[in-house]
């Protein structure tokens, strides 16, 4: 089987390292080969897209061209921002001749092939479409023993491109987690913004948005939030102590990557899932992932 090209992006080498660990571990147990693109650069990200769009597209396109050069058909982009920017680059290059010719010329100048149809894919959709619920269900070796979870998709994954899941009511993460026996709650905020970079730039506003999401998850009876995006995960995980302090509430819930739950259920080495990196809800994590009591402390 041809390996999936893999574009980690900066987050998965930083705050979102747990995502990378668990993703690679999960793909290993599913026998899905993954090959990292060599010499990749920043995806082009949202912040400087707004300053110099054309240059941002070129940066982003370089990654796509590198993937093509490496012979990839599919390029995995686990971070929602990377996924969106790479996908947008393809779309705009195809749709707007001016951007297209600028990007293609720049690639030529760099000795790279012109953009031509590598598929940008998010692991959620790969697991749902290429692996399928049936196979996931049949491979479960550790049934879920944790609490109810709220599946949170964030804003960038399904809009404006609804190729990973439906734009207004995505359900594929819910279905995947149901396949490993994890109970999910109806979570109306599943595509609301997590606060994004605001937690850095306008901190009180950003944290308020984090709080809204967590509060509604609690209200719906969830004991954990599961995410598909490193920024969402970081925002919801990292600010809970501050939220407790400011609101007087007692919110302390784990915020997972969906790959951590799937990896656990499908028998990946618990050490390899990056669960130790969790900031909030560590008690719940210790309980839920305690396969044998001795093992629990070892990796949490």
């Amino acid at each position: 089987m041809k390996p999936y090209g893999y574009f980690p992006g900066c987050s998965l080498r930083g705050t979102g390292a747990g995502y990378e660990y668990s993703l690679l571990a999960l793909f290993r147990v599913l026998d899905l080969p993954v090959e990292e693109i060599q010499d990749w650069n920043c995806c082009g990200a949202t912040s400087y897209m707004s300053i110099d769009e054309e240059s941002a597209f070129v940066l982003s396109a370089r990654n796509l061209a590198l993937a093509q050069k490496a012979g990839c058909k599919d390029l995995l982009a686990p971070c929602s921002a990377c996924y969106l920017v790479l996908r947008k680059t393809q779309d705009y290059v195809a749709r707007y001749p001016k951007i297209g010719s600028h990007v293609q010329e720049s690639l030529r100048a760099a000795g790279l092939p012109p953009l031509n149809g590598v598929r940008v894919r998010h692991p959620l959709e790969v697991l749902y479409s290429d692996v399928g619920l049936e196979r996931i269900r049949s491979r479960v070796v550790r049934p879920w023993r944790g609490g109810r979870v709220a599946c949170y998709y964030g804003c960038q994954l399904v809009r404006p491109y609804d190729e990973v899941d439906r734009a207004h009511n995505p359900t594929r993460m819910d279905e995947l987690l149901a396949a490993i026996g994890a109970p999910t709650v109806d979570y109306p905020l599943k595509t609301l913004c997590c606060g994004g970079a605001l937690t850095g730039t306008m901190h009180p506003i950003g944290v308020r948005m984090n709080y809204i999401l967590l509060k509604e998850a609690v209200r719906k009876g969830a004991q954990a939030v599961v995410t598909v995006c490193p920024l969402c995960q970081y925002n919801l995980d990292a600010h809970q102590a501050e939220i407790r302090r400011k609101t007087g509430t007692t919110i302390d819930m784990p915020v997972f990557f969906f790959t951590q739950l799937l990896g656990w259920a499908l028998g990946a080495d618990p050490e390899s899932l990056g669960l130790k990196r969790a900031i909030s809800g560590r008690k719940s994590i210790a309980q839920w992932f305690a396969k044998e009591s001795a093992e629990a402390d070892a990796y949490v």
Binding site: R166, D186, R219
Partner: protein, 663 residues
């Protein structure tokens, strides 16, 4: 014309005001035509279709002895008939005429004046060469069968049928559902007068039932149509309702007697808000008032072990017949009125509004049933849990004016939303919010109705609703639905908690409109509504002669417009019938016997079985009455021994060569 010497062509280039003359140099086109062989006179004129324009042709025929006419103007679909008539009344055979389309296919679609003018010159040259080859032909007359088929028994079909029947014509009214009445039968009140829908509709429904000139077939569908204007043959499949319409007295005792004590089947007439039995009448005023058995739900059809209490209850009448089968009716008619209506947009497709997720999100049609005195709650507006809503939000344009779903305006939703706002407030005293993009109230008394609602203190928030959610920010929102919207007049985002949400769903083509379109051989607009022949000049006609349109199958419209259009369609059908016959273009194919080798290539090509093989002569023969003039056999004949009137090989060769004959 084989000899060019006698040829005297008149060429007329229309300005169409500035429609053509704005982009095409009409003078240059006329001058260029004047130099063509055989052209005796060439003119440009402001409006060729006007009386003076037509007179010009007639006078020139006399004055210059013209024997061929070319008019370069709009599409032949618009005015070919006009100019053929001018040609005929000028004293020539009307088929010595050729029309050139320099408006729809030239001046309107090109910007560069030089290029558009060159194109017009080419097209006129081609037409002048083609018309030289034209033969004198006679139109054939087809008698019109005086009966009419009306498809669809909503208010459009009912009104068309009654109009025709009152004029003494026989009408077959075919309705798919067990009762006529359509969507209108579901409403309690109609806007803007708030008169009771049933009071208007039910007398018309019973008039249909009792009219000696109407054959009413409900629970039936048209399955096949063949023929042509004046002489259509239709096949209607009448599904078994398992109660004989002729024997049933409408006592409904069989329904009471059904072994299902409780009604368990979702009642589609009440938008599934209530339950019915397997044997049922859709609503108390149904026409015909004859029950129908739903074989999906009736246990006799599954286990054959039912006690058949319905049969017993019917007793001596023997109207219940559980072994009834589908019956086919074949009828002859001269024209057809399509009144197949619309479907309400499926609100589930707008997932952000939570229909099907939150029980207190309703569609407008559901609320129509709640408000209706004979509906599931006898006219009480209550939520599914029995509570009376204190606050109600009405979301406009659900599935209308939306890039993601349907782009068109459904035309009736603003007004019915106002009506529902009024009625809900009247019944419950609730605070009512309308969320609208634009208020569209263009109709008689409509704007006044809007003003009345404003004075009734119904709230209006301008903005397309982002979402309906049960996400509660604080205790005031707990347990309620929250409407999130940008109030574009106040310039802020709002969260408005309500108890009930009403989605004003738009109007869509019926899901099987494509099949119906093919069945009746007509076209549709891009969105799937049936295409009228001309939006202004022939709004109830289609491109298929003798097939007429009425009501929402042609596009969203309210009841007054629907009734007006149904009347117009009936008038068109009456005009055909009273004329007794209709002229048809003589564009049929014919076999040139001397050249036919009897190879039979053409015989299987004809979809109308118009071509037969004469065994004695060993030649093909084309039945002129059956030929519809497509010309497929002409193109296929290996020995070029089939011709087609109006579209002869040499005419088409001349035309295409004329196009390419650059100076």
């Amino acid at each position: 014309m084989s000899e060019r010497d006698g040829l005297r062509i008149g060429v007329y280039v229309c300005h169409c005001g500035t429609n053509i003359a704005g982009t095409v140099d009409v003078r240059a086109v006329a001058e260029s035509a004047a130099a063509l062989p055989g052209v005796a006179v060439s003119r440009d004129y402001k409006y060729m279709c006007s009386d003076p324009g037509q007179d010009l042709i007639r006078q020139d025929i006399q004055k210059f002895g013209l024997n061929r006419i070319v008019v370069a103007a709009c599409s032949p679909h618009l005015h070919e008939h006009t100019f053929r008539t001018a040609t005929r009344t000028g004293g020539l055979n009307e088929f010595y005429f050729q029309m050139v389309n320099i408006r729809e296919q030239d001046s309107w679609v090109h910007e560069h004046k030089g290029a558009a003018t060159r194109k017009a010159i080419d097209l006129v040259r081609a037409a002048a060469r083609r018309v030289a080859r034209h033969r004198a032909l006679e139109k054939s007359r087809t008698p019109i069968h005086p009966a009419v088929l009306v498809v669809g028994g909503g208010i459009a079909g009912i009104h068309a049928a009654l109009t025709l029947a009152n004029a003494g014509k026989h009408v077959y009214l075919v309705e798919r559902e067990p009762s006529i009445g359509g969507h209108m039968a579901k409403f309690d009140k109609t806007f803007p007068t708030l008169d009771c829908a049933a009071c208007i509709l039910t007398p018309k429904m019973s008039a249909v039932k009792n009219h000696p000139n109407i054959t009413l077939w409900t629970y039936s569908e048209v399955t096949a149509v063949e023929g042509y204007i004046g002489n259509y043959k239709a096949t209607i499949a009448r599904r078994p309702r398992y109660i004989d319409e002729d024997l049933c007295a409408g006592c409904l005792e069989c329904i009471d007697a059904c072994v299902f004590r409780q009604a368990k089947v979702p009642d589609e007439f009440n938008e599934d808000l209530s339950r019915r039995k397997p044997i049922y009448v859709p609503f108390p005023q149904a026409v015909p008032l004859v029950p129908v058995i739903d074989p999906e739900a009736c246990i006799e059809f599954h286990s054959h072990k039912c006690k058949k209490t319905c049969v017993t209850a019917c007793g001596e009448r023997h109207a219940v017949n559980l072994r009834a089968e589908e019956k086919l009716e074949r009828i002859d008619i001269g024209s057809i009125v399509l009144a197949t209506g619309f479907r309400a947009y499926d609100a589930r497709r707008s997932a952000n509004y939570g229909y099907g997720v939150y029980p207190n999100v309703y569609t407008a049609l559901e609320v129509e049933r709640l408000i209706n005195a004979s509906g599931p709650t006898a006219g009480e507006v209550v939520l599914r849990d029995g509570r009376t809503p204190q606050t109600v939000g009405i979301v406009h344009c659900v599935g209308s004016r939306d890039e993601n779903t349907n782009r068109w305006c459904s035309r009736v939703c603003c007004m019915y939303s106002l009506k529902l706002a009024h009625l809900v407030k009247e019944r419950t005293g609730a605070e009512v919010f309308n969320f609208y993009i634009d208020m569209r109230t263009p109709g008689k008394g409509f704007e006044e109705f809007y003003q009345k609602l404003l004075s009734e203190r119904v709230h209006f928030v301008r903005g397309r609703v982002a979402e309906v959610t049960d996400w509660a920010l604080d205790s005031s929102e707990e347990g309620r639905l929250v409407i999130r919207v940008e109030d574009t007049l106040a310039g802020l985002f709002r969260r408005i908690p309500v108890d009930m949400v009403i989605l004003s769903t738009g109007l869509e083509p019926q899901p099987d409109a494509g099949d119906v379109r093919r069945l009746f051989n007509i076209s549709s607009s891009p969105e799937g509504f049936f295409l009228e022949r001309h939006p202004k000049l022939a709004p109830v006609n289609t491109f298929t002669e003798g097939v007429l349109l009425a009501g929402c199958c042609q596009g969203p419209k309210d009841i007054p417009d629907t009734v007006a259009q149904a009347g117009a369609a009936a008038a068109e059908a009456l005009a055909l019938i009273d004329a007794g016959s209709v002229e048809t273009d003589p564009n049929t194919a014919y076999v040139m016997e001397e050249a036919c080798s009897g190879c039979k290539t053409c015989v299987p090509l004809c979809p109308y079985h118009a071509i037969s093989f004469a065994q004695a002569a060993r030649k093909a023969e084309i039945n002129q009455a059956l030929c519809k003039g497509c010309g497929t056999c002409v193109a296929a004949c290996p020995s070029s021994s089939i011709g087609q009137n109006l579209f002869e090989d040499d005419e088409i060769f001349e035309e295409s060569e004329g196009l390419l004959a650059y100076a």
